[in-house]
């Protein structure tokens, strides 16, 4: 139980730019999405990662789950290098880190019923066929959806319901770490509050470590215990959420806070205030 559950050590991710001709002529440059990032996430932390578009938040997420590989640096999952773990594509480590996606429209296979989606996920975790249906229903209940959702196709659900199914699918793997990449930005404000409250409840009940990626400071402050502020692929500030938001040290953090409509950043907002906080920002 000691040591960080997720650690990044000097992780850089760069993408080559320009076409084949540019590369042959040596004119190609690299776009650095993530620049020498080192961070540690402790077990049970609820960490908000904020920053503007293109600040490297989403790159960080896809590196952490192993969707992309770092150019340099090392990612450690519970002390074990992810690069080594990934040699076993379907290894038991897979279930430990799961992701909730931003776009509820593309997060679910449009041809699969919700029941089938969850059952196939459970099958990969090794749940026997006989108990898959019961467990799917339990997962739906966990995210606040009724069993009447099970036979439906994704397009028959609202955006908020789809996002809950996406969350249920991630939870079906019984993860230790959940990475949520802007899970509410495609939802309208009332649904945002519902999903945020749900995440808040589940992290407490299930003891999840949550990496919550957002550009919405008000959402982060209601949900998260720690905050990491990113800009241009670098971490500019990190610390306990309320401290950083109350006394931002870095000018970029100050800028972010000042760009939120008045009355949000300064308010002492416990989780119960999520609804009002998110709706005034939206």
């Amino acid at each position: 139980m000691s040591g960080p559950i997720l650690a990044l050590r000097g992780v850089t991710k760069s993408y080559p730019q320009g076409g084949l001709l540019d590369r042959l002529l040596g004119r190609a440059s690299n776009f650095v999405a993530l620049d020498d990032v080192t961070l540690q996430i402790a077990r049970g932390d609820v960490v908000g990662i904020v920053g503007e578009s293109g600040s490297g938040k989403s790159t960080l997420a896809s590196l952490a789950v192993g969707l992309t590989r770092p150019t340099t640096g090392e990612i450690l999952l519970d002390g074990e290098p992810l690069a080594a773990l990934m040699r076993d594509h379907a290894g038991p480590w897979r279930r430990r880190i799961q992701m909730v996606f931003q776009d509820s429209g593309s997060a679910l296979n449009p041809r699969k019923t919700i029941a089938r989606c969850l059952a196939q996920t459970l099958a990969l975790r090794g749940v026997p066929r006989a108990t898959r249906e019961d467990e799917s229903m339990a997962l739906l209940a966990l995210v606040g959806l009724g069993s009447e959702m099970a036979p439906r196709l994704p397009h028959e659900l609202s955006g908020g319901q789809r996002q809950r199914v996406g969350l249920a699918r991630a939870l079906a793997m019984k993860p230790d770490i959940l990475i949520a990449d802007e899970p509410v930005s495609s939802l309208d404000v009332s649904l945002q509050a519902q999903v945020i409250n749900l995440l808040s409840r589940l992290t407490r009940e299930l003891g999840l470590t949550l990496l919550f990626i957002s550009h919405d400071l008000a959402v982060v402050r209601t949900l998260c215990t720690r905050i990491i502020v990113m800009r241009k692929g670098r971490i500019v500030e990190e610390g306990p959420c309320l401290d950083v938001l109350a006394r931002p040290a870095h000018p970029y953090t100050q800028l972010l806070i000042s760009s939120v409509p008045k009355g949000i950043a300064g308010r002492r907002a416990p989780a119960a205030a999520a609804a009002s906080a998110t709706s005034s920002v939206g």
């Binding site: 996606f101 593309s106 997060a107 296979n109 996920t121 990969l124 397009h155 028959e156």
Partner: protein
């Protein structure tokens, strides 16, 4: 059963018409010896070139053979080539397109450039040339003997494969980037499970539409190849050879000789196209809305 029920609700009358035509044609082809009123190759000189009447509904040709019976038997060659070529083309092309889109990078480039290469070969010209060089006799592979049509089916199948590859590739490229594919990858699903379980099903509707259109084109190609005498060999009937034989009749007034095989080709082609449209609607998961409106 669920699928069929949805088809029944979703398809409008054009879809049903297409399905009916296709079923009738396939039924006629399969049951040709039972439904054809005469032997398609039986020569009867005393009845030659008789106009449509009660005995010969669609008339008889220069050798006194019954046109209706020949059209019914000719459906076998047309549909076998059309459907066979589409199956071969789809197997080759869909696998190539799916592989390229899923694999990405160098594998993508190599596969799709091979597809471009195949597409650049004028295969129809080649098909005619190859059959012309090899002759129209049966093909013997080991102890198995295949009729001449096998050559044509294979070559037309190769001709169709780039079309399938490109359609599959274009759709699959988009699907591969979808979050549900990533989610499945993160669950530790195998590449086979992802490619066949997530990506392929979402590419199916354009593939099926393409397939029905290509069956129609395949029927026309078979007719063309048979028309120039390199396909189905006389005295066996095929719509193409019937049209070819009817050329002289165009000037001597036996209109039933070219008209009825021509109608058979047109109606079958239209039938497959209508069916294709209906099947596309069926495979669209959002077709529930359509049914409610209708």
């Amino acid at each position: 059963m669920n699928r069929l029920a949805r088809l029944a609700r979703a398809a409008d009358w054009t879809g049903w018409l297409g399905a009916a035509i296709v079923v009738v044609m396939i039924g006629a082809a399969l049951l040709a010896p039972l439904v054809a009123p005469y032997d398609p190759v039986a020569i009867s000189i005393e009845h030659r070139l008789s106009a449509p009447d009660a005995a010969h509904w669609l008339g008889t040709d220069q050798a006194g053979r019954d046109v209706l019976s020949r059209i019914i038997h000719g459906a076998r060659a047309s549909l076998a080539v059309g459907i066979g070529a589409v199956i071969i083309g789809a197997l080759l092309g869909v696998s190539a397109g799916l592989f390229a889109a899923y694999k990405g990078g160098l594998g993508d480039q190599i596969t799709m450039r091979i597809v471009d290469g195949v597409a650049s070969i004028p295969l129809l010209v080649w098909a005619i040339a190859i059959v012309g060089i090899l002759g129209v006799g049966p093909v013997t592979i080991g102890s198995l003997q295949f009729p001449n049509e096998v050559k044509i089916v294979t070559l037309v199948g190769c001709l169709f494969s780039p079309v399938f590859a490109r359609v599959t590739y274009a759709v699959a490229r988009r699907i591969v980037g979808a979050d549900y594919v990533k989610a499945r990858y993160l669950q530790g699903a195998s590449h086979w499970q992802i490619a066949l379980g997530e990506v392929l099903p979402n590419c199916l509707s354009p593939i099926i539409v393409q397939a029905t259109l290509l069956v129609a084109i395949g029927i026309v190609i078979e007719a063309s190849i048979s028309f120039v005498g390199l396909g189905v060999q006389p005295p066996q009937p095929s719509w193409g050879t019937m049209l070819s034989d009817a050329r002289n009749a165009l000037y001597s007034g036996e209109w039933w000789l070219p008209v009825f095989p021509g109608i058979a080709i047109s109606v079958t082609v239209i039938g497959f196209n209508l069916l294709g449209d209906a099947v596309r609607d069926l495979f669209d998961p959002r077709n529930e809305a359509r049914t409610l409106v209708a």
